[in-house]
């Protein structure tokens, strides 16, 4: 009887409609997961502050290249006064700047850009890791994802794709912009003659993407909480860097110790991709690139093994 | 006649349902029992336990609580209302977790935000997180010691509180592995520790199985009979009805009505009471006499002063009863006259049921009437 009263109240104009259609393969859900992960990070103001800090380095290179090539066309032959230090030919001065920042469109320029981005990429990834995996645990999104017809691999691949996008957004993409800028500023031939550089940039980006993504996913699934993740991540990228500097530069140990600095190792492989000679890399005394590749490969493999065991063995769902 | 309903307010339905405060004492004139180990000065006892005066609270541009006035002295009060009506915000304000933007909240004369007010209040929050690595007992003991009791006394109080909520045997397991019901019990135990006069319980019944709910309802009744004042928010109106009929109804951040369900219902004069009466067929199978019986009843009912309308409902032929639906004002007089009618006219009534005087029906009328 109560039911009849309720019924009278709301005439149902819009009926439920069934749906019939083709389902796609579960692999198609990787991109939606990544897309959502990306949007959730793009909504954080903290991310944008860090990203802008990272962009500063890019802008330094970008406008540095531009200003120097502009200055070259403007510079006369007369010497200019430099504070109280003496006089100097502006062309020498420009050459000095170019030498210092390597703003000369050479392979060295891109390698140093990648290397300078290290800190900021590291911080962004610590943030991303704690949001991508940590948030799902904190807000209980995991049952939502895993009750859908996709395996845990698809879930992790989706998250990994998002991480990869961040890494490339901060490294490869600006490097390509710098490459194009140099072509526009100097000569169009540069773009074709030094096509190998573009391939090198892409290779460098690929190395970074693969190793860092796997590493981040493994550490984030292992540690889950923000603070331990940040501790581990800073240890990997600051402590190891300081340690390797102390060992090799300070205490004159074997240059092989530099291999524990993962960012430096990616830099070595990147240099090899760009076709650079080891001698040009600062700080000096670097181990050969294939040793770095071996270390990074080993680390990635270790992380992958951990991920596989983790996914097979333990229930993620509480 | 019971004087509960003969309050001067009843019957005047055009009066707007503003926030009126009704304090209620289940034991009439008996003085409220005092908590263990505490003595009230005369003045303090005269102050209302909880006094909210024109309290408003915003979250940014969103208003959470809008000029709420509420006074509580003892007994159980149910705080009901739809999701987002501001119940939790009001409870957070009372327990000093939030500060009102306008108005004042006093607990025995202390500002609710102050430390001294919190000694009088036990709070069972809605959220569901603890120090998960502790066992239930460790958690409650830690909470007891944070009140500043000596170690020995804190342990005793924790043990007692756990006993009260029926967790004494299960308190050694880690909170991490507790079910929702056990978590609710632990939450309640920590609110009992310092034997507060006022207990503010936010959704204490949600997620508990029927067996546990019965235990809780009994426990709340015991607490109230010990002289505690309980403010309980719940969506489970059936359970709340078992516990109390004194309600504060919130809607859109405001208190729409305070009082017993019957008081509130009687003031809803624009919604006549809907009553279902099943009358037994005098001799089953004979169509004429069957119609005769309920038509006779309907005609008799229509003659009553308070009846607004009568509706004959169709019954299934296999049932031996015919339902009649009556709408009537002034329930008091209507039921008196119905009794007289039944006795005089010799009806055999199989069922007499008021369909819309339950808490949920009252709530539905009140809230839908407001928003329309």
């Amino acid at each position: 009887m109560g039911e009849s009263l309720n019924r009278a109240a709301t005439p149902e104009l819009l009926h439920y409609r069934p749906w019939r259609g083709e389902f796609r393969t579960p692999a198609a859900s990787i991109w939606p997961i990544a897309r959502v992960a990306l949007t959730s990070i793009f909504q954080k103001w903290m991310f944008w502050i860090i990203y802008i800090l990272g962009l500063l380095i890019f802008l330094l290179f970008f406008f540095g290249q531009y200003l120097l090539s502009w200055a070259e066309t403007q510079a006369g032959e007369t010497d200019v006064q430099l504070g109280g230090w003496g006089r100097m030919n502006p062309r020498h001065l420009i050459a000095l700047f170019r030498g210092f920042l390597k703003l000369d469109g050479s392979a060295e320029s891109y390698r140093s850009f990648f290397a300078y981005q290290g800190y900021i990429v590291m911080i962004v990834l610590a943030l991303a890791g704690s949001i991508l995996i940590g948030n799902d645990l904190r807000f209980g999104s995991l049952p939502y994802y895993l009750s859908k017809p996709l395996s845990r691999w698809h879930y992790l691949l989706g998250k990994g794709l998002a991480v990869a996008v961040f890494i490339n957004l901060m490294t490869t993409l600006p490097a390509i912009v710098l490459f194009a800028q140099w072509g526009v500023l100097e000569s169009w031939e540069y773009l074709f003659e030094r096509f190998d550089l573009l391939l090198g940039i892409l290779g460098y980006g690929l190395v970074l993407t693969v190793t860092l993504t796997v590493l981040l996913l493994a550490t984030a699934t292992w540690l889950r909480r923000t603070v331990p993740l940040i501790m581990m991540w800073t240890t990997l990228f600051f402590f190891c860097r300081l340690l390797s500097a102390a060992m090799v530069d300070g205490l004159r140990f074997s240059p092989r110790w530099r291999l524990i600095d993962l960012w430096n190792s990616t830099s070595l492989i990147g240099a090899a991709c760009l076709g650079l000679d080891l001698e040009t890399i600062r700080p000096g005394n670097q181990p050969p690139w294939y040793e770095a590749a071996l270390v990074l490969g080993g680390v990635s493999l270790l992380c992958l093994t951990y991920l596989i065991r983790r996914i097979r063995g333990v229930e993620i769902v509480r | 006649m019971p004087d509960l309903l003969d309050s001067p307010d009843s019957g005047r339905g055009d009066r707007p349902l503003t926030a009126i405060s009704v304090s209620r004492d289940p034991k009439g004139s008996a003085p409220p029992a005092l908590p263990f180990g505490s003595r009230l000065t005369e003045e303090a006892a005269a102050l209302p336990l909880l006094l909210c005066q024109r309290v408003s609270k915003w979250y940014g541009p969103v208003i959470g609580v809008n000029q709420v006035t509420l006074e509580l002295r003892s007994g159980i009060t149910g705080l009901v209302g739809s999701n987002g009506a501001g119940k939790s915000t009001l409870m957070r304000l009372i327990t000093g977790q939030l500060r009102p933007d306008l108005g004042s909240i006093e607990i025995r004369g202390h500002d609710a935000w102050s430390t001294s007010a919190r000694r009088h209040v036990g709070y069972c929050p809605e959220l569901d997180s603890f120090y998960e690595e502790m066992s239930g007992r460790q958690f409650v003991e830690a909470m007891a010691r944070l009140y500043g009791y000596p170690r020995r006394e804190a342990l005793d109080r924790a043990a007692f509180a756990l006993e009260r909520v029926g967790m004494a045997g299960r308190a050694e397991r880690r909170v991490r592995g507790y079910s929702k019901g056990m978590r609710q019990r632990i939450k309640l135990a920590q609110a009992l520790l310092h034997d507060p006069e006022l207990m503010v319980l936010d959704e204490p019944l949600s997620g508990i199985d029927p067996v546990g709910r019965d235990e809780f309802v009994r426990l709340f009744g015991d607490l109230a009979s010990m002289g505690k004042c309980l403010l309980i928010s719940s969506h489970e109106l059936e359970e709340l009805e078992k516990l109390t009929d004194h309600l504060a109804i919130m809607a859109h951040g405001r208190i729409a009505a305070v009082g017993t369900v019957a008081q509130i219902r009687d003031r809803l004069d624009n919604h006549p009471l809907l009553i279902r009466i099943d009358v037994k067929r005098s001799s089953p199978g004979e169509n004429d006499s069957e119609n005769d019986e309920r038509r006779r009843l309907a005609a008799g009912l229509l003659k009553l002063n308070d009846v607004v309308g009568v509706e004959l409902l169709d019954a299934r032929p296999e049932d031996a009863v015919d339902p009649v639906l009556v709408r009537a004002r002034n329930p008091q007089r209507f039921f008196q006259e119905l009794t007289r009618l039944v006795l005089e006219e010799w009806y055999e009534i199989a069922r007499l049921e008021t369909l819309d005087d339950s808490t949920s029906a009252v709530l539905g009328y009140l809230l839908s009437g407001r928003s329309a």
């Binding site: 069934p18 049952p143 | 019971p2 999701n83 039921f335 055999e348 007499l352 008021t354």
Partner: protein, 331 residues
Amino acid sequence: MLQWEGLIWCAAQGENMGQSEANDRRTTIDLRNLSRWYGEFQALCDVTFQLAPGRVGLLGPNGAGKSSLLKILLGLLSPSSGTGHVLGHPIGVEGTALRRAIGYMPEADALVPGLRGADYVALAGELYGMSRREAQRRAHEVLTYLELEDARYRRLEEYSTGMKQRLKLAQALVHDPPLLLLDEPTSGLDPAGREAMLRLLLTLGRDHNKSILLSTHLLGDVERVCDSVLILHKGRLLLQGGVAELCRRRQDRYRLQIQGDATAFREELRLEGVQVLHDNGRGELRVAVPSQWVTRAFFTLADNHRVLLRGLQPDDEDLEELFHRVLKDQT
């Protein structure tokens, strides 16, 4: 056995839907000797049952194994022993096809922070394997149906509890599954919201032929929506059957609502041979009457003792009493 193998094969091939649907009509869920251990703790113990399509309530005290059962049906947990099929898909083997046939509404919030309502449901559609555009279109359709029309473009953080629950139902419905697994769909809902949710579930089940497995603590939900019930206790299946058949009919019991001082009235009832079983102290009495009792006697007594009889209902056993009775038999 041969028949099951054939079914598995059909599901794997993703064709010949006619046959599998024909089978669906007979059983939605078929579990045999299912057990699940968490270390030493046994969450499910030798559970065996078959369910025909329909609306089924899953009842049990806290920790009875309801959530574990739902997760096993969904393929999120694997059973420690035993076998089972859901809509012809074996559990624990074929996750993808199984989960496509199920809409799951988890108990916890399970939100993705930062999304808008429509995006959230569309994402669920995409994850189920719908194309992006189709998922978006369907998301709007489902949200409209669930009366979340106005809230579609709000962020999930701003949703109230009632809206969150309906949103969770929306994401379970987006791909139009034949089976819905609902874990506490009305918890935290206000009465109006709960009524609306139950009405939706009833309509979905009755008019749109969705099979529903509804796990809840609120027995009223089951009474309102379901036509049969499963009661679990400590991992064991205690009772399975239709709600109407299980509840006892009692001709001799009445529930009375009295207004006024009932002491004398009760006394008189006792003298007349009526047994007062329960008095809640606020005027509600449950009584057992002797045979040949006429209800008019209640009115007479009430009139004599100047109390008002406001309610009189036959007191058949309801689900709550059934539940308590079954649990009591167990212990």
